[in-house]
Structures are given as C-alpha cells and as structure tokens.
Symmetry: none
Subunit: 410 residues, 2 copies
C-alpha cells in the first residue's frame, strides 16, 4: 500500500473572504469535489478547538506528535529545512541579516529585505570563530533574503537564553541573558553575544555592504539571532510505522518538520513556494516517488501567502491550480493501493490575513474508506461527512487505512 | 435507574467486507435498526483516531480508564478472568503448555493446541514449589486448551523481566532476564527460570504425556510464561458511581477487565465465545440480573472471531444473531428506567482479519436521550446521528444518562 498527504497551507477561510463565501466555496474546483465524492469527509482542527495554530505546531500535530510535549521552537525546523545537520543538544537560532548604526541601534531588522549577495554574506560570516570557546562548533547557513540559521554544538550549552533581537527598530540590540540559573545558560548567552558583536566586525566593512551604502541601500551589517531551541525528540515514521517516505515542499519550515520525522526531501522543478509555483510538478514528482517509497507528503504554500496578502482572487486562483494538481493525482495514482488525505494546516482568512483557529475541511480517499455522499469540498459541505471532527492525528488516521503501525495493547 | 452496555467485539468493518458494504450494512438487523431509531447515534473511537486498539486497552478506555495511565499488560486480565485472585504487587504471567525436546528447544509453543487433560496438567503443575524461595507464593491455573496463568506473590518481586517464551519454534527457551537493575527484577527472573525448569521435571514423565507420545501427539511437557505484569490500579465502578454490576461474558480477558473494575461475573448457559454461542441466553440472564443489580455488561465475541477468520458470511450471520438478542432486550428491558449503549470495541474487517483503527457505530437508548432520526445502525448511517464522535468513555456517558457519578467541581 501507498499513502499520500497533501497540505495546502492556510487553506481554510471565512464567509467574509469573498461575497459571503470562503475562497474554497468560491473556487471552481471540480477535481477537489470529485475527491470529496469518492472519499470520507470531515473537519480538522490541526491542534484543537480555539487554538490559532502556528505552521510548525500544526504540522507536528498533523503528523501525530503532541506539540505540547515535543515543541521546542521554530528555529530547529528552519535550520534542518535549509539543510543543516542538527543533533541532540545542539542549540539552533533563527537569524536575520539586519542593519544597525555605529551604536548597534537597529535601523532595519531585515536589512531592507536584502535580496542579493547571500553567498557573499554567508562566506563572510563563516569567519565566525570564538577563540574563547574553542570546543564550541559554530555553523551558519543562509536561507532566503535576510533569513538564516545558527547552530551551536558543544558541551555545556543551553537554549534557555533571551533574544539579542529586540524585535523592533530604534533601540539598541539586546544582550542575550540566561533564562535559568545554570552554567550552560550563562555560557550560551555569552557565546551568542560574542557572536553578534563579531558578526558586526566581519560585516560592517565588507566591500559588498560599502557598495550597498553607496547605492543608498541598507547594509547587512549584523547577524541578529532569536528563538534559541534544541531539537525536539521525535520518534521517526520509520520507527513508528516501518515505512520510508519523502516530503515535496519548498518552505524550510515544512521540510524541517518532515525531515525530523524521518522523511527525505525532494524538490520539484519550478516550485517556488509563491503564487506562481509550478505545483503540478509536485504531483508528477510524487507519483514518480511512490514507485520507490511508501509515502509522500506534498506541501503547497500559495493559499496561505494569498491569505496573508488579503488577496481573495489570488487565493481562489491558487485553489484552482491545486484542483489541476488533483486532476493529475486522480488520474495517475494507483487507487486500488493508495490512501490519500487532503487538508490544510489552518485557516488564513482574507480579511484577517493571519492564521485563525477555525477547522479546515479534510478528505481521505482510497479503497478502505467509507464513502459518505459528500460531493463538494469546502468548509460547509464536509461537515455533513462521515469522518466527524479530527484534532490533528492526520498521518496516524491515513496510515491506519493502510494497516501500518502496531496494535496498542493485545 | 438501570444501565446496560453491550459490546460486540470487532463489530466494525470496511466497504471491502462484502460487496461494497460493511458486514453491519449487509446484515438484516431490524431490531438494531429499531434501537438506532429510538436512540442517539454516533461513532466511537475506542481509544483515539489512528490507534489500532487491542481488546484490553479498548475495553479499559470504553470503561472510562485511560490506558496510557493504567495499562500494565494483558496477563493480569487473563489471570483475573479465569478466576485467580490478584492483589497489588502480584506478578502475573500468561502461560502456554508447550512441547520442548530434551535440550529445551521449542517444538510447539501450544503442545498441538492440546484440548484434553487440562485438569491433570494443572494438578501436576500444582507441585511447583521452590525451596529456595519459601516466602514466594506460586499460583497456577489453566484456562482453555494450552492457555493458563501464573501468579507470583511475595516481597521483592517485579514485572520488569523478559519472556522465557521465545515466541517461535526451533530455538531453545530463553532465560528470563531483568529489564531493570533492581534486586526485585533479578530475583523474579531467577524464580521464573527456576519454575520453567521445574515444570519440565514435573511434566516430562507424566503418564498423561507418555500416553500422548505413544499416540503420536505432542506432549505438554513445559510451562512457558510470557508478559509479566502487575495489576493496574483501577478505581472501581462502586467507588466512582456507587453502583453494583455484573459482566456476562465468556472470554477471560473481558471478564478480567470487568472484575478489576469491580463487576461480578456471571456465565450464561450455552455461551461459548464462539460463533455458535447461545448469546440469547446472555440477554435473558441480563434482564434477570437487573432485578438485583444496577448495571450489566454483555460481551459477545463472534463478530471478532469471524473477522479474524476472514469470513464475511459468518460475521453477517452472527450480527443477525445479535439482532435476535436485541429483539429480546427491546421487549424485556424496562425502558422507562433503563439506559442502554451498544457498540463495538474496534473494527475487525474481513480482508485484513485483525483489529483496525476506524471508528465503530454506537447508540445510546433510554428515556433521557435525544432521539436523532437515524433509523439504521451501521458505520455510515450513524455518522448523521446526534452524538457525534466519542473517544472511549462509553460507560461514563451511559451512566451520566442515569445521573450516576459526582459533579466535577462545584
């Protein structure tokens, strides 16, 4: 048996989205409706009712992990998602390239959303070494634009430190402070503070930055870390179910969650994570990947991006592109041997423009599901489905249709 | 007020059971449909979505206990279910009579599923005494065929030991080993190993076994234990609700769970646990029992047995016999004063032949339920019911219709 999970980020909406309808209700999506018609339908609270899910906690919960138990922070997923190696006890921090003045007062937390020179900046920052801490390994990698991640590895480190990032402009960067009274927290705070100062020394006079200043652009003259976290202890999907799978996604966060759950990461050609992403290629790659592996997780991001942009038409258009992707999946998956789940990780309504707590529609299709007569896929129609309401646990339910996993008890 | 819980083991199914229908959908069950019509209907995950329930964990959860907190293993329920006394700290093990050769290599873990001489074997094994451990009481009882249970009682015992049972043939029996570094675990492993060796001394030359060998049958020449467990700490139904009840079942496991929850155990005439079980007698005995007690739990097993046998026709036929049982209950219960719940503990679909994670239909009937208009009792029809989806907790919901139990908070 094979399994496919498709998550459209921020898929859900509100009646205020578009003329009294949610974007899903307003979209023309005959293949999503066909999927509903051959599936069992319901609603998903990715975490639980009344909780506004973050993307990381939502995906953990969808994968069957309890975020209340395992969640340590977003930084680890970002670091893993951009390809960094992370081991138990490593301290991961998300970083921005920022612009500060001579007094280390923050001018722009994102250095003008810098969109060039990432490799040059990364090379410069590779010079980060602290003579005072020869036993601590320091790794840095850029992600997109101003984004990156730091990983500290060594004895006697702790994630219990406050952020150097003041999270606003016009104030001096903060000193990281220990949040608990341990030697490890004191030492880690000192290291991070030393790194921030050292990054200024390495970046301020970089010819690349001098050139930006000449052009009137903001220099990327400081590495500003936040959100220290150690890796969560996740029992991998191999251990839990004895299966091998892959993630097909663009966003580092989603790739990071999936890799920490034991999935490999494949990239579809032309997939960007934006509204123009060639998501059909994800479906084509998924069908190809299932020849070798048991499970594929496809993540598409455009629905969430359009919601954050308050752009109903863009969200509707992207849902119709998801519909084309499902035209391909409906035709090319081996439906005698495959169970598929499609849902979102949360709602991103147009007016609010951020994640909200309402449940999102969900459908499971495949030979073992009890088809329930629902023939439209949206927030209202699926409430009449046979599935009822799930709180996370999408992968365990999907995999249980494939009879993967041990009996609990005897 | 009175309460009745009826569990049909492995009741649920899949559309692959029988011509696109589940066995419940395929069965002609007018009285189950009548029950749905006078009840409130929904779906039950006996534990939670995506979890394949064992029979023991499922029943604990249906009774309102959290298996993640209380479950210690199946052995205790089996021991209690066959009538052994079990107290706090006792170490219980399930046993098989097995066949081994002179080098203690396992020839058959079940001594040819021996179906004779259980009393003689039990008497022989009653000679188990270990001079080296005069303070440890050793109790043994046979169950059915090759099955039995051992209970060790004394100071300084532990259930944290590995199985002597190698769980396969052609290899020497294992030595029980401590799983934790405690004196109690070391001592218990030594005792169990000594008991296994002593059982061979007692059984190998038993005239009964010599006779079997002469006939070409496998001798029951070793007692092979597995699954050491101490009793779970369950707050009894008397303590929780102040009520007295009984279980009417055949399987030792179900009787064991019920007795540990504080129920008495009654046996209906002609009830076997098999497909030919006279289950109507369980309903007759239940109605009789309710004259004296507050609550009766009826367990029937044939649905699960037929599912394990991949036999759709047998499962459908057994559901139709359950329907006859409900014809009696509908007629003879005092419906002004009684609430009844009917459900399964998990699905046992025909093709898969083992427990699966899908929810099973559930109905509550009685004067306080809100009748919801559902008039068919199966996996699909009850999704439209008024109850929604339960995760275990069937007894607490049933008893709450009777207003049994304390307010939580003030």
């Amino acid at each position: 048996m094979k399994a496919v999970l498709v998550i459209a980020d921020g898929l859900g909406g509100r009646p205020t989205d578009y003329d009294g309808k949610t974007c899903l209700e307003a979209a023309r999506a005959p293949h999503l409706d066909a999927l509903a018609e051959r599936g069992i339908n319901g609603l998903l609270y990715s975490i639980k009712p009344g909780v506004r899910p973050g993307s990381d906690t939502a995906h953990l919960s969808i994968f069957g992990y309890d975020p209340e138990v395992v969640y340590t922070g977003r930084g680890v997923f970002e670091a893993v998602g951009i390809g960094m190696e992370v081991g138990p006890g490593d301290v991961c921090l998300r970083t921005n390239f920022a612009t500060v003045d001579d007094d280390l007062v923050v001018v722009d937390r994102r250095a003008g959303r810098i969109s060039e020179g990432q490799n040059e900046l990364e090379r410069a920052v590779h010079g980060l070494k602290l003579n005072a801490y020869p036993d601590v390994d320091i790794h840095f990698k850029v992600s997109t634009e101003h984004r990156g991640a730091l990983v500290l590895r060594g004895e006697n480190l702790s994630s219990e430190i406050s952020d150097p990032d003041p999270h606003k402009t016009g104030v001096k960067i903060h000193r990281a402070m220990p949040l608990v009274e341990t030697e490890a927290a004191w030492q880690t705070a000192e290291i991070v503070n030393a790194l921030v100062v050292r990054s200024y020394e390495l970046l301020a006079d970089l010819p690349f930055n001098r050139e930006r200043e000449r052009r009137g652009d903001l220099p990327a003259n400081l590495l500003l870390p936040r959100g220290a976290a150690v890796p969560p202890q996740l029992t991998s999907l191999q251990e839990r179910y004895g299966i091998e799978g892959a993630v097909i996604a663009t966003g580092a966060l989603y790739i990071g969650v999936a890799k920490l759950a034991g999935l490999r990461s494949f990239r579809a050609e032309g997939a960007t994570g934006g509204l123009d992403s060639k998501i059909l290629n994800k479906a084509i790659l998924a069908v190809e990947t299932l020849k070798d592996l048991d499970f594929v997780f496809i993540h598409v991001k455009g629905t969430d991006a359009a919601g954050h942009d308050h752009d109903a038409e863009a969200k509707i258009a992207f849902i119709e592109r998801i519909d084309e992707m499902f035209a391909y999946l409906l035709q090319h998956l081996d439906w005698d041997e495959t169970h598929l789940a499609f849902t979102g990780d949360h709602a991103t309504p147009i007016l609010y423009g951020d994640h909200t707590a309402e449940p999102v529609p969900i459908v499971f299709a495949g030979p073992n599901v009890l088809v329930d007569g629902v023939n439209r896929f949206n927030e209202r129609s699926t409430t009449a489905g046979g599935l009822g309401v799930l709180h996370g646990q999408v992968l365990p339910v999907l995999f249980s249709y494939n009879d993967w996993g041990e009996k609990y008890g005897a």
